[in-house]
Structure formats: structure tokens, C-alpha cells
């Protein structure tokens, strides 16, 4: 037991409380703030528009040159040619402009004629309207329609 003057009532400063929990939480907040900034720079500030439509790309064709972009259009019916390395097809824009796409890599499950797609890649030359794609993404619409709306149910439960 240390000897102390028990009559000395001079106020003494309180011992410093270690706030490790608070420091850790502030650390977490800083990491989250950095993550938000990273997401903003990666996703939104870089490209608010995820793709260029064919009309937008054609309007800025000279400026685009052969830079890598994502190009959106609708797959022209009866134009798909599946190759060993991917698929080639014609893509149509809103005002009827067409771009020939030669894409490498396997297309998604829903890839088919008359469906909107986004192709990542570049035009083959500064003046050409042929597009070389490295990835095909399907941009499905917001409509949901029954596959067989007129299918009738037989009394035994089977459909025809």
C-alpha cells in the first residue's frame, strides 16, 4: 500500500480513458468514405452513361475513332452468325442506322435476334462502321409477357 497523505484533497486530473472502440469506428468511417469515393470514380464520375446508343455513336463517329466504348443497339433478325470464337451480327439503332458487329467470347444465355444488347469494343478503323466486340451483354427490356398466353389447360392438368 503506497503511503499517501489522506488529508490532501487537491483535485487531481482524471486518468486518460483509452477510447480504442471509438478510434476503430472512426477508422471504419474513413475506410467507408474512401470506398464511396472509389465507387463514385469507378462507376458514376467516369461514365454516367453506361453505353452509347448507335445514334449517339454515329453522331460522334469522327471523335470516337477506335477508342473502346460500349455500344447499344438491337440485334437485327436473321443476321446472327455464331462462330467458334463468338458471334457476328448486325445491330440496329433507333433511327435505323446499322453497325456490323464481330464479337469474341461466348454470348449470354438470352442472346438472340431482336433483343437489345450492349457490346464492349471498338470500331475497326477510324472510318469503318464495323465494330469489334470483346464482350456482349444483353439489356433486356422492362416488359414481362407470358411465354404462351393462349395455352389452354386440359382437364388432366397438362397444357397444350
Amino acid at each position: 500500500m503506497p503511503s499517501a497523505d489522506l488529508t490532501d484533497l487537491t483535485p487531481v486530473p482524471a486518468p486518460e480513458v483509452k477510447r480504442r472502440g471509438r478510434g476503430r469506428t472512426i477508422g471504419v468511417l474513413v475506410v467507408l468514405a474512401l470506398a464511396v469515393l472509389a465507387l463514385l470514380s469507378q462507376g458514376l464520375l467516369h461514365s454516367l452513361n453506361y453505353f452509347e446508343t448507335i445514334d449517339q455513336a454515329m453522331a460522334a463517329r469522327a471523335k470516337l475513332g477506335t477508342t473502346t466504348i460500349r455500344l447499344e443497339g438491337v440485334v437485327k433478325p436473321h443476321s446472327i452468325d455464331r462462330t467458334s470464337s463468338g458471334a457476328s451480327f448486325w445491330m440496329t439503332g433507333g433511327h435505323g442506322q446499322e453497325v456490323f458487329v464481330n464479337a469474341h467470347g461466348s454470348p449470354p444465355q438470352l442472346f438472340q435476334a431482336d433483343i437489345p444488347v450492349v457490346v464492349e469494343g471498338h470500331f475497326t478503323s477510324a472510318t469503318s462502321n464495323d465494330f469489334y466486340g470483346t464482350q456482349i451483354l444483353v439489356k433486356h427490356t422492362a416488359s414481362y409477357i407470358a411465354a404462351h398466353p393462349k395455352r389452354v389447360k386440359a382437364p388432366n392438368g397438362s397444357t397444350r
Binding site: 472502440g21 471509438r22 469506428t25 472512426i26 471504419v28 468511417l29 467507408l32 468514405a33 470506398a35 464511396v36 465507387l39 463514385l40 469507378q42 462507376g43 458514376l44 467516369h46 461514365s47 454516367l48 452513361n49 453506361y50 453505353f51 452509347e52 446508343t53 447499344e72 454470348p107 449470354p108 444465355q109 438470352l110 442472346f111 433483343i115 450492349v118 464482350q135 456482349i136 451483354l137 444483353v138 439489356k139 433486356h140 427490356t141 422492362a142 416488359s143 414481362y144 409477357i145 407470358a146 411465354a147 404462351h148 398466353p149 395455352r151
Partner: protein
């Protein structure tokens, strides 16, 4: 009487509606013309996102605003905001997971850096930051005020998420129900199943919120008891 009855029925009704949603979604509704059976995610993903963005985050933001308003300030509002934010965080994570599960076979990728997905992920990080902020201060009033202000600032992101598909070119589809011209883009039993799923998951949120709120009240009560016990213990040590 009515309050007690509704509290007792909330759980069973939620369960029945969830079972009904899954039964209709998996067995009764037809496959979609384009997406086939993948469209059955329509009865899960939008409902979870609806709860995450609008119902639970909306509850948290409104409770935060009511806390900041002097006339309605109470510990109840602070607790509701905190509990709703916790539930919303779970639903945001589920939104991102179910979206990825749907996106991989339809789009062809698990994730795309488009405006809808990125802004939703940012809201998820805001919610984690809110939960971290709850733990960053020991003073209950200061903590509640700071968190309420933060929740309202974070709420700015919700309209950005909602309108992102209209404002920018996104891989994520546009609105199916809340369309600009009011036309519904889903029909028949598919539409009814979608509405039932929205209602079922909304009730699930309120059931979870109620349970979480009760835990929070018990925790607060336990904190007071623990404090009294600690003081009594110290007094006993002093006597010895």
C-alpha cells in the same frame, strides 16, 4: 384491442403471404416470353429492393427528420431510425445479391458499373457508415442528432437511384410498374404475384422492425440495470 390483434397477426399474415408469393412465383405464373424461368426473380428482387430503398430507408429517414424536429423529438424516433436502418442494410445487401444472381444469366455479368447499381452500392455503404457512426459516440443525444443528420443527407441518394434509369443509359432495366406514362409492363397473374410479393416483403419489414425495436428497448433497459448493478458493486467494494 385492434392494436394487439394487428400485432399478433403481423407474423402469421407475413408468413402466409410469403408462402403465397413463392407458390405463385414458382408454380403458378407462366415463364416469360424472353427470359423464360429467369423472370421468376421478378417476384423476389424488386420486392427486396422496394423494401431496402423506399420502405425501410424511408422509415429511417422520416424517423430521423422527426427526431430533428423539436416538437416530435423523442428517443422512440431515434430507435426507430436506427432499427429501420439496420433492417435496410440487410435488405440492400440482399438486393445486390439477388440482382447479381439475376444479372449473370440475363446480362451475362454478375456486376456492371452502371448508374443504378453503383448508386445502390453507395447507399449500402452510407448505411454501413450510419451504423458505424452509431458506435462512434457515447453521448446518446449527440449520437442521435448526428445520425439523424447523416440519414437525411444519405437520403438524397434515393431519388438518384430511382431516376438513374431515366437520367442515364443503364444496363439495368427501366421501371416496370412506376413507369413515366403509368402503363404497367407486366400483365395478368404475373402482375398480381408481383404486387403480392411487394406487400409480403413490406409486412416482413414491419415484422422485423418490430422485433428489432423490442430488442433495442430491452437492451436500453438492460443497460440501466447493468449500470445500477455496477454502482452497487463498487459501493460494496468501498465498504469492504
Amino acid at each position: 384491442m385492434i392494436k394487439t390483434l394487428s400485432q399478433r397477426l403481423l407474423g402469421p399474415v407475413t408468413l402466409v403471404l410469403l408462402v403465397l408469393t413463392f407458390w405463385l412465383g414458382l408454380w403458378v405464373t407462366p415463364p416469360d416470353k424472353i427470359q423464360g424461368n429467369l423472370a421468376r426473380m421478378l417476384y423476389v428482387h424488386p420486392a427486396i429492393a422496394w423494401v431496402a430503398l423506399y420502405v425501410s430507408f424511408g422509415t429511417a429517414a422520416i424517423a430521423s427528420a422527426l427526431y430533428l424536429w423539436q416538437r416530435t423529438r423523442s428517443v422512440v424516433m431515434d430507435r426507430v431510425a436506427y432499427c429501420a436502418m439496420e433492417v435496410s442494410t440487410v435488405f440492400i445487401i440482399l438486393t445486390l445479391i439477388t440482382g447479381s444472381i439475376w444479372g449473370r444469366p440475363t446480362w451475362g455479368v454478375w456486376w456492371a458499373w452502371d448508374a443504378r447499381l453503383t448508386s445502390t452500392a453507395i447507399l449500402g455503404l452510407f448505411e454501413l457508415a450510419y451504423l458505424a457512426l452509431r458506435r462512434a459516440n457515447d453521448d446518446p443525444e449527440l449520437r442521435a442528432r448526428r445520425c439523424a443528420v447523416f440519414a437525411i443527407i444519405a437520403a438524397i441518394n434515393v431519388p438518384i437511384i430511382h431516376f438513374s434509369v431515366d437520367w442515364w443509359n443503364t444496363l439495368h432495366q427501366g421501371a416496370t410498374v412506376f413507369t413515366e406514362n403509368g402503363n404497367l409492363l407486366v400483365h395478368g397473374i404475373m402482375l398480381w404475384t408481383l404486387f403480392i410479393s411487394l406487400f409480403a416483403f413490406t409486412l416482413l419489414f414491419f415484422w422485423l422492425l418490430r422485433a428489432r425495436y423490442r430488442v433495442e428497448v430491452l437492451r436500453a433497459a438492460r443497460y440501466d440495470v447493468a449500470l445500477d448493478e455496477a454502482l452497487a458493486q463498487r459501493r460494496r467494494e468501498g465498504v469492504r
